[in-house]
Symmetry: C2
Subunit: 220 residues, 2 copies
């Protein structure tokens, strides 16, 4: 009936996908369900997305874009390293990323990455961007240790996200964000037995850290 331009319909279908994944908690939602939730026929969903996996990936790209936007916004006002880290932490555990739909999408996305190279690529983009942002943020306080520390902070973000995401008693992610800041403070204190160990980690991956926060695009 109601005719809409391609771009709008695409995003409506993507939104419906995220909604349905959030409602059921898994990727076994049928295209029919999704289409219905979007108020269109299943045929249209296939018209715009060649198959189900493509649709899921598009949905995940939207989630990642939202996350990136949050980071970007919160980073704007952050002037000190401490504030910048807080921005990253708050974006990771903030309302956008911690809604049920985003959580479902994320957790299932990890599982999808196990069998879909496309999903894996997308996951790497997220990881690289996060790592890059963290290195940039940690450099002033950690110096050469920044890449090494960033790897732990990044891992901690993912791990705690998973924890609190799967904990029905956790109402929001603020506790997760607190932990990130505490971990970073611990890593940033001067006297580290670690220093000796992490010398070899001076820029372990030369391709990797770029001076400024990343704005990579998700395609490819």
């Amino acid at each position: 009936m109601a005719r809409k331009p391609e771009a709008e319909r695409r995003s409506e279908i993507i939104d419906a996908t995220i909604r349905e994944i959030g409602a059921t908690g898994n990727l076994n939602v049928t295209v029919g369900q999704i289409a219905k939730s979007a108020g269109v026929s299943s045929g249209l969903a296939f018209h715009y997305f060649k198959d189900k996996d493509t649709l899921f990936l598009a949905a995940m790209r939207t989630i990642l874009t939202n996350y990136r936007r949050d980071v970007s916004i919160l980073m704007k006002g952050a002037t000190t390293p401490e504030k910048r880290l807080e921005a990253i932490a708050n974006a990771s555990f903030g309302l956008t990323s911690f809604r049920r739909e985003a959580i479902s999408a994320w957790v299932n996305f990890y599982a999808l990455a196990l069998r879909s190279p496309d999903a894996r690529r997308l996951l790497y983009i997220y990881q690289r961007r996060l790592h890059s942002n963290l290195v940039y943020t940690l450099r002033p306080t950690c110096g050469a240790r920044a890449p090494d520390v960033a790897r732990r902070i990044g891992g901690l973000i993912d791990g705690l996200y998973l924890r609190y995401a799967l904990d029905p008693q956790a109402t929001d992610g603020s506790e997760g964000a607190d932990h990130i800041l505490r971990a970073a403070r611990a890593e940033q204190t001067e006297l580290h037995a670690n220093d000796a160990m992490s010398v070899r980690d001076e820029d372990p991956n030369p391709m990797d850290p770029i001076a400024k926060p990343q704005e990579l695009n998700d395609n490819a």
Copy 2:
């Protein structure tokens, strides 16, 4: 044909389940596939496990049992707090837990926990046990901060596991284990800006830390 006692067949079917999940990377393996891989008919799989989800949970219990066994073995020889933490780290990133099959099972298990209360319960058992072991291990060096630090180390284990598990370039998990130890060392250094913050975390969850490493059973 070949007749075997219940216990043996059960574990053969469970092993086949783990194998097939590992091979395909997702839970969409059919019971037929699993049965075939176990060398039995699909009917038998349903005879011993009332439905597919039950079978998956049984498989996951086996994975958790193997992990627990590894921790237990490695803990035996560990006398100092440092050695004990090393034991936990090595178990978490060791060969048993880092095989492709275990990785697939774990990642999909997280997704399953999103929709299955039974899976969620099982996941909590793992998390509580890990937390408990960490608190016990960290107490000597962290004192009152142990529960708080344990939450981060636990999260870091999960997060880094996910990272390296989904990284095809990572051959083993030894790098993950290294990170755990470094993070712990950072948290254990004396002069912490954190100390003031984490006072309120003195035993945040009274139900939680128990003096000795846990040997909870997985049922219920």
